[in-house]
Symmetry: C2
Subunit: 230 residues, 2 copies
DNA sequence: CATCATAGATAGTTGCGCTATCGGATAGCG
DNA sequence: CGCTATCCGATAGCGCAACTATCTATGATG
């Protein structure tokens, strides 16, 4: 098929397809003449994958290029491809370097050791975790750390489910793709599920019970900023 | 304190602080004269919260303004504030309207019913979930749906832990803040944990051998994107 | 053969999160 | 009182990311 049909079938505008080709997300079509290229089902699949990673996964175009690059790289140890892909799925930005960051890093290392996880210090996921924990500390919610074990339990449940899913995929290429998709879209799925469960749990605990405690009329003290002395 | 000190204490540049004030993320300082404003600890706290939501949570400035607006809104039923805040924590963009989207919506509604969750159809989280599932279908991974129950189990575990945490916070304002922080930063925490567990499980199943991945290499300068594959 | 689509190249647009600069006011010190 | 550092508020500009539009030469197609 030609680019117009590819566009119609995926809903992606032609100029955008060209842009993705330029950025290395999508292989160029096969040229039959200097201005005629043909695309196939692989392009359709790839394009849908790109849009999914972009729109649902929230990945940046450059990150997608890297992930797909690792995916496509032939003749490479499987676990390396998986690792390379996984390493590109995290957050951007450098970690800051204050007391909170250091303490958070310690907590993460202890957690990893305690769980017996196969991970090293440089793992981007570990860095992301430390960053998040440091941010929690900085906003005065260091107590959140107490939930870490429960979070980790749940994370293991999900990770095991993911692996079981991936494990029953067929050939290697699909397997790698499954990991990428599972990691990125699975995160979106879990995030939404968590918020759903949150709303429900919140409704059970607070809804209607605390409702009456708000005073009517503008007797609210300070305005604008939430300031009160604890 | 004046804006210079606020800047020093939070690491946020003065022009950026002004920008946040303009955007409604941060209340203006109290004017003592036409060109002199004073800031207090509440501003420091708020600023740290903003940076956390921005950098770790990945929220957009406009979304943060909405969330904080709901947080600050006085004299409003607690569960409504919580709901309003939670509703703004999701993804942007409208859902598409194809066969996959419809099927995914069905699956979500059945899941919600089966779980007995208190959720309405318009819940943004439900929409996000449907979007993610539809995307999975489109890339040929509809089989991922089979993991939904396990995912939901894990989500309930996390949600319960969150609620238990929130429940032991004191006054209402802090409680709302806890929900926001727990939801946003908790997501970052879980995401990183999941990837950590993933790497570990993956190594067990596929790696056989644990090899080096991204090498630390170099000093603590900002790392960002390591581009080489040893 | 007339029209349409296409490849490839380059330039422009939009949105976002800042950042720089300017024209006045003070603050605070000697 | 003078002096400098700082501040406020407003406006304009910057840099990046993800497209989008336009142009030319060429080939496809009925």
């Amino acid at each position: 098929m030609r680019v117009g049909e590819l566009s119609r079938r995926t809903g992606v505008p032609v100029p955008t397809i060209k842009y993705y080709v330029r950025e290395g997300l999508l292989p160029a079509g096969e040229l039959s003449s200097p201005n005629q290229a043909h695309y196939d089902e692989a392009h359709v699949r790839r394009l849908r994958l790109i849009r999914a990673l972009l729109e649902v996964g929230g990945l940046k175009v450059a990150a997608i290029a890297e992930v797909l690059g690792a995916m496509d790289d032939p003749g490479r140890p499987l676990h390396k491809v998986l690792g390379a892909a996984a390493d590109r799925l995290g957050t951007e930005g450098a970690a800051d370097d204050d007391a909170e960051a250091e303490a958070a890093g310690d907590v993460v290392q202890r957690l990893i050791a305690r769980r017996g996880w196969h991970s090293h210090e440089a793992d981007p996921a570990a860095k992301d975790l430390a960053r998040a924990l440091a941010a929690l500390s900085r906003v005065g919610h260091g107590a959140f750390f107490e939930l870490l074990e429960e979070y980790a339990d749940a994370a293991e449940v999900v990770a095991r489910a993911d692996l079981a899913y991936v494990d029953r995929q067929g050939p290697v290429e699909e397997l790698v793709e499954s990991v990428v998709i599972g990691t990125v879209l699975g995160e979106a799925v879990f995030s939404a599920l968590r918020r759903l469960a949150h709303v429900d749990a919140s409704a059970r605990v607070f809804g209607g019970v605390e409702e009456e405690r708000v005073e009517p009329e503008g007797s609210a003290a300070g305005e604008g900023s939430a300031e009160r002395e604890a």
